[in-house]
C-alpha cells in the first residue's frame, strides 16, 4: 500500500531547484519547477548512483552533478547520455505548505 509521506516544507526548496529527502533507507529528490510545481524522483542517478540533489535544475531538466547526464524530472525520461535508464517518479501533492510524496 503506497503511503503519503511529508517530505519538506514547500518553501524549503527554491524555485527551479532540488533538495534531497531520505526516508526508510531510500533517497529521493524533490523538485520545485520554475512554474512553482513540485515533483519527486528517485534521488540517485540511474547511471552511477550519484545524488541528483547536487545537480542543476533547468526548466524541466535535472542534470546529474557527476557526468552531466540529464533527466526530465517530471516524467523521469532519460534525456542525455551517459544516462540511458529512466528515473522513477513519484506522485507529489502540496498541503498546508507541506510537500508530500507517495512512496510505494
Amino acid at each position: 500500500m503506497a503511503e503519503w509521506i511529508e517530505a519538506c516544507a514547500a518553501d524549503d526548496i527554491d524555485e527551479e531547484d532540488v533538495i534531497r529527502f531520505d526516508h526508510g533507507g531510500r533517497t529521493f529528490a524533490i523538485y520545485r519547477s520554475p512554474d512553482d510545481e513540485y515533483f519527486a524522483t528517485d534521488g540517485l542517478c540511474t547511471h552511477e548512483k550519484v545524488h541528483l540533489a547536487d545537480g542543476l535544475v533547468m526548466d524541466d531538466i535535472i542534470e546529474c552533478p557527476k557526468h552531466n547526464g540529464r533527466f526530465n524530472y517530471k516524467t523521469g525520461e532519460a534525456k542525455r547520455p551517459p544516462v540511458c535508464v529512466d528515473l522513477r517518479t513519484y506522485p507529489v501533492r502540496v498541503e498546508a505548505g507541506k510537500v508530500l510524496i507517495q512512496v510505494g
Binding site: L56, P65, K66, H67, P81
Partner: protein, 366 residues
Amino acid sequence: MAAAELVKSKRDYSLVGESSKRAIETGLASAEWYHTEVPRKVMKELMQRSDGPAIRDTIIWIAAILGSAAGAVLFWGTWWCVPFFLVYGVLYASSSDSRWHECGHGTAFKTQWMNDAVYQIASFMQMRNPVTWRWSHARHHTDTIIVGRDAEIAVMRPPDLLRAALAFTGLLDFRFSLPILVRNAFGYLSPDEKDFIPESEQPKAVAAARWHMAIYAATIALALYMWSFLPLMLIGLPRLFGTWHMVLTGLLQHIGLADNVTDHRLNTRTVYMNPISRFIYWNMNYHVEHHMFPMVPYHALPKLHEIIRHDLPAPSPSMWHAYKEVWPVLMKQLRYEDHFLKRDLPPTAKPYRGEFHDLTIAAAAE
C-alpha cells in the same frame, strides 16, 4: 621466468584485467570522491549555463580557423604557408580537444544543439569516435586515474617517455586513433570499449566511425583528383603538426601524481597558464576544479578556483614549473613505479581520508 615476473609492471591498465577486478573488490571503482564544501546557492550560481561566452569564443575560433586556412591555401607552394599551417594546426588539432571536452560535458553552451554540433565537429578534428569517447570520458570522471578503470590515463607507470614524446608529434594519433576508427567502422569494438560503452550505444559508435571514414575517404579522393596534398593538409594531417599544444597542456592534468586515490586534490593538477593557452584549452588548466565540479562551465572555473583554492594544493605557477616538478618524478618512476608526487594540502584544507595523507599533512590540516 622468475626474473621476467620481477620486472613486469604491477599495474594492469587493461579495463578487463587484474587491476580492474581489484579496484572493484576494494571499492575504488565508482567510489564517493572528496568535494570541497561550497554553499548550494553559490554552486547553483556557478553552474548556471550561458550561450554568450561560448558563442563569442566559437566565433573567434571558427574565424581563426578559416582565416589561417585561407592564408595557408593562398600561399600554398611557398614557405609563407608555413606560419598559417602552424596556427591552423593548433586550432584544428589542439583547441578542438577542449571544445570536444566542454561540449561533451554539455556545459559550454546553454543550448544543447550547439553543444552537440561543436562536439561532433571537434570529435572529427580529434580523430575520436564521438560515441566511444563520450563513454570513456564518463568513466574517466567516475574513476579518475584508478588503474584498470580509467580509460584515459595518458602516462602509465612505469612511464613510457618515448611514447609521451611522440605524442607531441601527433604520430600516435595516426598509429592508434585512425586504426581504431577503421576497426569501429568495420563493426568491431575492443573488449575495453565494450566494457565502458553500454550495449545499446555500441551501434552508434560503429555508425559514427563510418561517417568519419567517409569524410576521410572523400578528402583522399579530392586530393587524388587535385593531385595535391592540400586537402589532406587541411583535413586529417593537422593531427601531426598541431597536436603539440593539446599534449603540452593535457599531460599536466594528472602526470606524476597519485593513482588509486579518491580525492582529486591528490591526483589532479591546476596550472596557471597564459591567456592564449587558456583560450586554446578553454580554462581546463583549472583541472582540479573541473574534476571536483564538472557541472561548472569553463567560463566560471576561474571564479570557482578563487572560491575553493583554500582547500586545494597550491596551483603550479606555470607550465614550466609544472614540468620541472614532474620530470624528476618520472625519472624515479622508471626505476620505482610506485613513486609519485605527493600534493601538500594547505593548512586551511580539510583532510579527507587519512590513508591518502601522511601524518605531517594531516596534522597541519587540523
